[in-house]
Amino acid sequence: MASAVGSAPSRAEVLSLFRSLLRTAAKFPDYNIREYTKRRTVDGFRQNRELSDPVAVAAAFAGGKSQLEIARRQAVVYSIYAPKAKSVMEIKAS
């Protein structure tokens, strides 16, 4: 990444992190975890939108990156052990 440790990330980097988190969220086979990850990402970014202090922004960005790593690993684990039957929420259209 272009940003050094401690300096605020650029808008493009933040957006890229947001998109990566949402893309990783879509990879979870479990309905509840998938929805939670999407929702939590959106709410988390929305909550931190007003942050102005560059140190706080950098800290939040670093936190987001570590969460992205966790999500990537766990998406793989959950995919390997995905149950054959899907949740009823995903099956019925009604």
Binding site: R39, R40, V77, K84, K86, S87, V88, M89, K92
Partner: protein, 541 residues
């Protein structure tokens, strides 16, 4: 010793048979739950005799002769399928042919009866992923609304745990190598995380196998330690079974226990509790959040009273930690039980908080190598403990976000159901309640049929009718809920991962099922016509 089972039910002393004041006194000193382990009410299906369960087993085909009476075992009648009469020359092939014929017999065998069918392979899953279990077929995994029973492990918790199953598998008590050092460091880090969420010092946290073990150590361990001076325990009638069973155990040993009744809304009367404390009371045990009805007890007030009277205060906070703010200093808690799998952590781990100032002493239940400062011997399970620590840290960070969301979901659920149904009663106080627990009773509906129709929603019922016994839950009985309402109670558990769509679907299914059952119910018809059910004079035919 008289076995409880051998006493016929009509001869067992029933609390309802006593006069009202005696009944209250009886209930105040008698454990509300029946003895554990629970015997199943119906015996398991009897095993089939050999000749039906395994007609072609070698043992039956070639029985070993009885040594004393060699001709006592009758020869097995063998069915020979060969159509032609066999010539003498082929006699030696007879045995082989007979055996082969028997291998064809399975096609002619009579159909399997119940036990053998149950032991046979379940039918293979259909192409559209039907899930078939216990005679129920559903199209997919049910939506999970039973968060009080257990919670799914959060992926972030699993991520923290996995390295300790894969490469860092050392025993934390091994002092001589890296594996032990890194495990110990991880356990101590987890201890700090658990201590942080309850506002305690890490030295006051001890890891156990779960909240049940922590409750056992708290109740029995404290009273055994102070057995010379303190002979009395005060608790409530709505406690978790492990606390009540430990109290019964103490009663059998000669201690006295007061089971305080609760009000209609599930809250304990604090003045009555203060009156019940005697000079020889060693422990007051009141759970923070009830697992069945979700009411939050006034822990801070009870803690203040116990501090004034100099009595130890134990709280079972398994359902409370990570969900409502808990501070052991502000609430004057002396002992606390924490469960891992109620806060999105792994199963099989819990913690016990023991205050150091003033020091709370317990007699250990697990004897062994003196791990966990002698309070709980046994290897500390590093992966589980790390998972629990991660879950506690997450819960601290996410408590505000989760609480807001879960409260909104609970309102959505309650409004959705009450908007379309009447005769819905919320069991327990609505104001003093943890929002993730909603226990509803539906009038004029039979409980088991309601549950059978709700197979796409994983919920729990208030009564124990899903288990072998048909007794309604002792918690609902303590609230004064009538038997018919207790049987139709359903506990919805909402958690971090529940979505709005799931709530809407649950509302839809519940309302549909209740309406369907009420339509079939003659009692409901009579109620709609305005007849008061309680004052009906049923005619004798």
């Amino acid at each position: 010793m008289l076995l409880w089972r051998s006493v016929p039910s009509w001869a067992r002393l029933s609390a309802n048979a006593l006069a009202p004041t005696n009944q209250q006194q009886h209930r105040a000193t008698t454990c509300p739950v029946s003895p554990s382990p629970c015997w199943p009410a119906h015996p398991f299906p009897r095993a089939l005799p050999d000749r039906l369960a395994a007609p072609l087993s070698p043992r039956r085909l070639f029985p070993s002769p009885n040594p004393i009476y060699p001709r006592a075992n009758p020869p097995l009648r063998l069915l020979v399928l060969s159509p032609l009469p066999l010539p003498m020359a082929a006699a030696k092939h007879l045995a082989a042919r007979v055996l082969r014929a028997h291998l064809l017999l399975p096609a002619l065998r009579r159909p399997l009866s119940t036990a053998a069918a149950a032991a046979a392979e379940p039918p293979p899953a259909a192409a559209d992923d039907l899930v078939t279990m216990k005679g129920v077929r559903i199209s997919g995994r049910p939506l999970y609304l039973d968060m009080q029973a257990t919670t799914p492990v959060d992926p972030r918790v699993l991520d923290a745990m996995l390295p300790f199953y894969l490469s860092r598998y050392g025993n934390p008590h091994s002092r001589t190598h890296l594996y032990g050092w890194e495990s110990e460091a991880a356990v101590e880090a987890a201890r700090e995380q658990v201590a942080a969420i309850i506002g305690a010092n890490p030295k006051e946290v001890f890891f156990t196998s779960g909240a049940t073990e922590s409750n056992n150590v708290s109740v029995k361990g404290v009273m055994h330690f102070y057995r010379d001076k303190k002979r009395h325990v005060v608790t409530t009638q709505t406690e978790h079974k492990c606390v009540l069973d430990s109290c019964r155990h103490l009663q059998q040993e000669g201690f006295e226990v007061t089971y305080l009744p609760v009000r209609k809304d599930g809250l304990v009367d604090v003045d009555r509790l203060a009156d019940a404390i005697r000079p020889d009371t060693g422990l007051v045990s009141v759970m923070a959040v009830n697992n069945e009805i979700g009411v939050v007890q006034p822990i801070a007030e009870i803690g203040r009273i116990c501090k004034e009277k100099g009595v130890l205060f134990h709280t079972d906070a398994a359902q409370a930690v990570g969900k409502i703010p808990i501070d052991v200093d502000k609430m004057n808690i002396g002992l606390m039980s924490i469960s891992g799998h109620k806060i999105y952590g792994p199963k099989g781990v819990g913690a016990l908080y023991l205050r150091r100032r003033p020091r709370v002493r317990v007699e250990p239940q697990m004897s062994g190598g003196g791990q966990e400062r002698g309070v709980r011997s046994g290897t500390v399970p590093t992966p589980l403990v790390v998972g629990m620590g991660a879950a506690c840290e997450l819960a601290m960070k996410e408590m505000e976000y989760d609480t807001k969301r879960i409260t909104a979901l609970q309102e959505r659920l309650l409004n959705g159901v009450t908007a379309r149904l009447d005769g819905v009663v919320v069991n327990g106080s609505i104001e003093h309640r943890y929002s993730g627990n909603l226990n509803l009773s539906f009038a004029y509906v039979e409980g088991e049929s309601l549950l059978m129709g709700l197979k796409e929603v994983a919920v729990s019922s208030g009564s124990a009718c899903t288990s072998a016994s048909l007794e309604p839950s002792y918690v609902l009985r303590a609230l004064g809920v009538e038997e018919d309402m207790a049987h139709t109670s359903i506990r919805f558990g909402i958690g971090r991962f529940t979505t709005e769509a799931e709530i809407d679907r649950a509302v839809e299914l519940t309302v549909k099922q209740v309406e369907k059952l009420r339509e079939m119910s003659p009692l409901y018809e009579m109620v709609k016509e305005g007849i008061d059910i309680k004052n009906i004079q049923w005619a004798q035919h």
